[in-house]
Amino acid sequence: MNERQEDTAKPPREQVVLFGAKHSLCGIVTHSATKVPRIPIVVLNTGIIHRVGHHRMYVTLARRWAAQGHPVVRFDFGGIGDSPVQSAELPPLDANLISIGEVCDWLESNLGQSQFVLIGLCSGADHSVIYAGQDKRVAGVVLVDPTIPRTFQFFLRDTIRRMMRPVVYLNLLTARGSTWARLRHRFGGHAAEPRDGQFAQPQLESPEAIAFLEQTYQKAITNGGEMLAVFTGGHSFQHNYRRQLWDALPNVKFGKQLDLRYFKDSDHTFTYVHHRERLFSLIDDWLDKKFPSSD
């Protein structure tokens, strides 16, 4: 079923729920369309985009999965979308992890289900794997472009990729580009300092960061969670080949629980419909394989 075919399907049953101790985490529960519900899925925010997701992707996904039998929750972390900040004292990550737990508690209390799948893109993926390490109820995580350390092979590929671009040589010959700008700033007196990259990129190559991530991923795996990790070519400043997760976190024993994919031609948020359809099909297949229907 693709995004264009949904209009013939029966509308899903959707419910607004205010989750959390303060009843202020705004979420939508899309109820399963089958008599025997399959494992519930919790969809986490991507950055500051509210619960509908980029291109309304999470609404489409929630309805698709509900039609396949999964109850789905989409909700906003505190300070995002329609949820007010949950704690003035806690750092956002800590507050958000509590919020995920509160949503899982609601699912357990109201739907009688004690296992869940978390899915997130970018920061949502990071939240998913960190939470999975501290709650054994998380039976699976779908991590789309999680933040991982860069590796020797990453830098090698990145350098080769840059050297293949004609603009590098054009800039060299015409005294343009960031290298020349840095030289001008350093030796040219009043020249402005060039911006360092697109934005403040995460630097996860320190031993401390790698140790934290290895511990995080190992806990999620040891807890028994299945893991589908999907990387795109859209964050080529952070990852640029399929096996980078394995190379970046060499001490994690992923075993057969990790299914690793790399969509080189997709951008970070799956802007194009056919890229989203490919992602959705991949996740459908993974869910069917790891959490089959009991009907």
Partner: protein, 264 residues
């Protein structure tokens, strides 16, 4: 703040009601009309902030998603302008019922402003005031802007904005499908003929200059009141446009403050 579904079983709409947080000595109500597509996604944060600001100033506020957008029922390809205007009508009914107010004001952003203009012109008896925030004035200009935005997405990929004829021959605008029928309908927008039919008190607040602003000024002719002008430009960021990562998540606080001041 109360999120809820309203409308009919065939046309379920998602809305968020913000009750007034101050007394204004009489019930006053505002319906916010959102933009479309990627502009809706980027503007959500600003629309929520505007709703909070107005509620703190004593207004009942309802923001909602048109059918086929946001959390409302339907698919992106179900969106049509007549349906969106009917959705605004349903939102007005809902807010009048919830608030006890006799009339509502409309605040529309981008396509939401163009929709609000037609609703205000046809339902004058129910509309108190109207704010057009960076309004879409003419359809062709807007469609051109949409395709330009799609072409300039900083995602480093080739441009498949037009889907092959075998798959419907439609378009993709920054992640949102746009059918050829929708494109043609949007291209037919022209708010200028509706201006004489608007409620007495309305104004357009713009952050980005557009070619059509000259036509809007001309259409206003000699009707401008110096103390309460219909057209105002303000220096602030565009709530509906993200130039990632420079302005990701920015909220145009000056615009919101100006709308709040004009409304009160």
């Amino acid at each position: 703040m109360s999120p809820f579904f309203f409308g009919t079983s065939k046309r379920r709409l998602f809305g968020v009601y913000h009750p007034p947080r101050a007394s204004r000595g009489g019930e006053r109500a505002v319906v916010l009309c959102a933009p479309w597509g990627h502009e809706y996604i980027y503007a959500h944060r600003s629309m929520a902030r505007l709703a909070i600001t107005l509620a703190e100033a004593g207004f009942h506020v309802l923001r909602f998603d048109y059918y086929g957008t946001g959390d409302s029922g339907g698919n992106s390809t179900d969106v049509d302008l007549a349906g969106c205007r009917a959705d605004i009508g349903m939102a007005i009914d809902e807010l009048l019922d919830m608030s006890g107010a006799e009339r509502v004001s409309l605040i529309g952003l981008r396509l939401g402003a163009a929709l609000a203009v037609e609703v205000a012109a046809t339902e004058r008896g129910r509309i108190d005031q109207l704010v057009l925030w960076d309004p879409v004035i003419t359809g062709p200009e807007y469609v051109t802007a949409l395709f330009k935005a799609a072409l300039n997405m900083p995602i480093g990929l080739a441009d498949p904005r037009t889907i092959s004829a075998a798959r419907g021959g439609d378009h993709e605008i920054c992640g949102f499908p746009l059918t050829e029928v929708q494109r043609r309908e949007i291209a037919g927008i022209d708010i200028l003929p509706f201006l004489p039919k608007l409620p007495k008190r309305w104004f357009a607040l713009v952050t980005q200059p557009l070619g059509s602003h000259d036509a809007l000024r001309s259409a206003l002719g000699g009707t401008e009141c110096r103390d309460d002008p219909h057209f105002e430009q303000i220096e602030d960021c565009a709530a509906w446009h993200e130039n990632w990562p420079q302005n990701a998540g920015n909220v145009p606080t000056d615009v919101i403050a100006r709308i709040g001041a004009w409304m009160t």
